[in-house]
């Protein structure tokens, strides 16, 4: 098991291809056919294009604050390859590839960042929870779902994510502990992009890495190269097999680099150097993957043409979100409770009276 071979105590990192796309660990290379490799690269490219466009829409004032995934695409695209329709995704917010693989549409994601809860309804995504804003708090939901899966003896796995900052939260510790005690089939991924907004990971922990925290809960942990699609795929395959076999949770530290800002409201140039960003560029997951594909000679398409198709399609989804039904007063109220109290009905009708009055003054 790779989790044993890459003991976090020794601060090893599990890697399959290097920055030049060359396989350096053939033995552990997961069995993935060429077609799937190309498909994964396209998924990464699609996610990046969507992110770049989202940032641009935000700059144009057509969308509110958005947290891009740029630089971290390999992690959630790899998770998206392994996650099944019946498996659960309990996300933080920087796992676009996995969201799309679960069946969430970009239209829904855009709608959410335009400020409409309807974007978290996920009409075509099964077993998918919404964006969790308070850091780390959702990890507990993943552990609870894991208990349900065991209780109902279902063949399902929970994929949940947090960032390096999230590991400092109490709920992170509680979630790993509960999941471990319950042998809940949960794969915890820490996307260590080295920053919690502006705070570098060295200010979060005295641990030599984040995977080593698995030791405290008696579960396997591994530090994997999060910018290496193949390493992430191999880690997820093993983790899913381990969880499905009834062994309980695992912790994967996916070591990566947040190339973009925390969100569109953030300016990383204030807290990190240009040199560091140039260094980070070298490990870019898309570039590495593309080099691997080129080395193998399996790329048959015109990338510019493909990107143009992506842009048209993404823009189409954005325009559907922009033209979504306007927010109605009843949308504020109707889902607060399943069984709506009279109080709320009254508050709504009083506001309707005000609107009527306002209308009459025109």
């Amino acid at each position: 098991m790779i989790f044993k071979d890459f003991d976090p105590k020794e601060d090893k990192i599990f890697r399959i291809i290097d920055n030049e796309g060359v396989v350096i660990n053939n033995e552990l290379m997961p069995d993935i056919d060429d077609e799937t490799v190309v498909k994964a690269y396209k998924a990464m490219l699609y996610a990046r294009t969507a992110d770049e466009m989202a940032v641009s829409y935000q700059r144009q004032g057509r969308m509110y604050t958005y947290p891009p995934n740029i630089g971290q695409e390999a992690i959630s695209v790899a998770a998206g390859m392994i996650i099944r329709e019946k498996d659960w995704l309990v996300p933080a917010f920087r796992e676009l590839g996995a969201w799309l693989a679960k069946g969430v549409s970009l239209k829904e994601i855009f709608l959410y960042y335009m400020g409409n809860e309807e974007g978290s309804n996920f009409k075509n995504a099964n077993h998918m929870l919404p964006f969790s804003v308070p850091i780390g708090t959702h990890l507990l939901h993943a552990a609870g779902i894991g208990y349900s899966i065991n209780y109902h003896k279902k063949d399902e796995v929970v994929f949940t994510f947090t960032g390096d900052g999230g590991t400092s939260e109490g709920d992170f510790a509680e979630a790993l502990n509960f999941a471990a005690v319950w042998k809940a089939p949960v794969i915890f991924t820490v996307q260590n992009n080295q920053y919690a907004i502006s705070v570098p990971v060295r200010n979060q922990t005295k641990s030599i890495n984040l995977a080593i925290k698995s030791y405290a809960y008696g579960i396997p942990g591994i530090k994997a190269d999060g910018n290496d699609f193949f390493a992430m795929c191999a880690a997820y395959k093993q983790a899913a097999g381990y969880a499905k076999a009834g062994n309980g949770p695992v912790l994967i530290e996916a070591f990566t680099y947040r190339k973009g800002a925390h969100t569109t409201s953030d300016d990383p140039s204030k807290y990190r150097s240009k040199d560091e960003e140039i260094e980070g560029e070298k490990t870019d997951p898309l570039k590495r993957m593309k080099k691997f594909i080129d080395n193998k000679g399996i790329w048959k398409e015109d990338e510019e043409k493909l990107l143009e198709e992506f842009r048209i399609e993404i823009d189409q989804q954005f325009s559907e979100a922009e033209n979504f039904t306007p927010y109605r007063l009843e949308d504020v109220f109707q889902y607060t409770y399943v069984d709506l109290p009279d109080d709320l009905k009254k508050q709504k009708s009083e506001y309707e009276q005000f609107l009527k009055w306002k209308e009459s003054r025109k």
Partner: protein, 322 residues
């Protein structure tokens, strides 16, 4: 039955009826909880349905939410009122919002139950009445029974509710009141107060352990020739405005009795209701007979803080004579 037995009975009935119900918390499984509310249930239904979780309140509630989203109907126990605060984040940030956040895709059929209130000579953090915190959270309903009968009927309704319920149990009268309670299943609707005594001079609204203190005060009031209408709120939210309003319209006076600090409390909400809904009927300023806006004193000083029948009668008389 006592309140402890009545809640146990309600849980027993629901566990037998619905395989998706699970119960857990600290000491809740093997031992049956520190107050023995869940006693015997693990033995009867197995350790995968009634169990001890690790000791972490945020996780007890947070994992319960995960279970509620994936087909179970968890009834989780938090050991004491003062230990619920680590779970507050989960309650206010997620439990209360998941239905709204997902536009109704996910429901949260979950009960969070815990003993509350003072008067038991306990340590710090064991004598608090945090109902106002929870009632203030949109998406949450808060229920507090005052008798074994109500405890059973309300617990059945709470478990059957598709909205998340905070179920607060008056620990001071857990075993102090014995009552005939039907063995069969019955439920009491959430959101409906109960008029315990009809009267014409003043409306007294209370809930939980304060009901019994009010009933003693009513005996004194009767001797003084004052006719008191006593209302047991039973549900803090959704608060039964109609019953309160109808009563205040009749009596013109309202006195609220509760254990929590006075400011920003359920008492404040009830006065707002009296003002908003029955303003022209009021003949005296509304009165809150509640705790000081201080920390609940430890046992030696608690008698200053707790409401007694004498104190309640004193305020009733002052309000009627205003």
């Amino acid at each position: 039955m006592t309140i402890v037995q009545a809640i146990n009975n309600a849980l027993d009935i629901k566990l037998a009826e619905d395989k998706n119900i699970v119960i857990y918390g600290e000491d809740t499984g093997f031992e049956g909880g520190v107050f023995r509310v869940t006693e015997g249930l693990q033995k009867k239904y197995g350790a995968d349905r009634v169990f001890d979780s690790p000791l972490a309140e945020s996780a007890i509630v947070g994992t319960g939410l995960g279970m509620a989203l994936s087909g179970l109907r968890p009834v989780v126990e938090l050991q004491f009122d003062g230990f619920t605060y680590p779970a507050f984040d989960q309650i206010i940030s997620h439990v209360s919002r998941m239905h709204n956040r997902t536009r109704g895709k996910y429901k949260v059929p979950m009960v969070i139950r815990f003993p509350y209130g003072g008067g038991i000579n306990a340590l710090e953090h064991h004598s608090e009445s945090p109902e106002a915190f929870y009632a203030h959270i949109p998406g949450i309903k808060v229920v507090i029974p005052s008798t074994p009968h109500d405890a059973k009927g309300l617990m059945i309704s709470a478990i059957e509710s598709d909205d998340p319920i905070i179920f607060m149990e008056p620990k001071r009268i857990y075993r102090a009141i014995k009552q005939e309670v039907a063995d069969d299943k019955f439920s009491i609707p959430i959101g409906k107060a109960k008029v315990l005594a009809e009267g014409t001079d003043v409306t007294v609204v209370a809930f939980g352990a304060m009901i019994r203190e009010c009933q003693k005060a009513l005996v004194m009031a009767k001797e003084a020739g004052i006719s008191v209408e006593l209302i047991d709120l039973r549900t803090i939210y959704p608060i039964d405005k109609e019953t309160i309003t109808r009563s205040v319209e009749k009596t013109g006076r309202i006195v609220i009795v509760a254990e929590a600090p006075t400011g920003f409390s359920v008492g404040a909400e009830l006065i707002a209701i009296a003002n908003e809904e029955a303003f022209l009927h009021l003949e005296a300023p509304p009165k809150r007979v509640m705790g000081f806006d201080t920390i609940v004193p430890l046992a030696r000083g608690e008698h200053f803080f707790m409401q007694t029948p004498e104190k309640i009668f004193y305020e009733i008389e002052r309000t009627v004579k205003f």
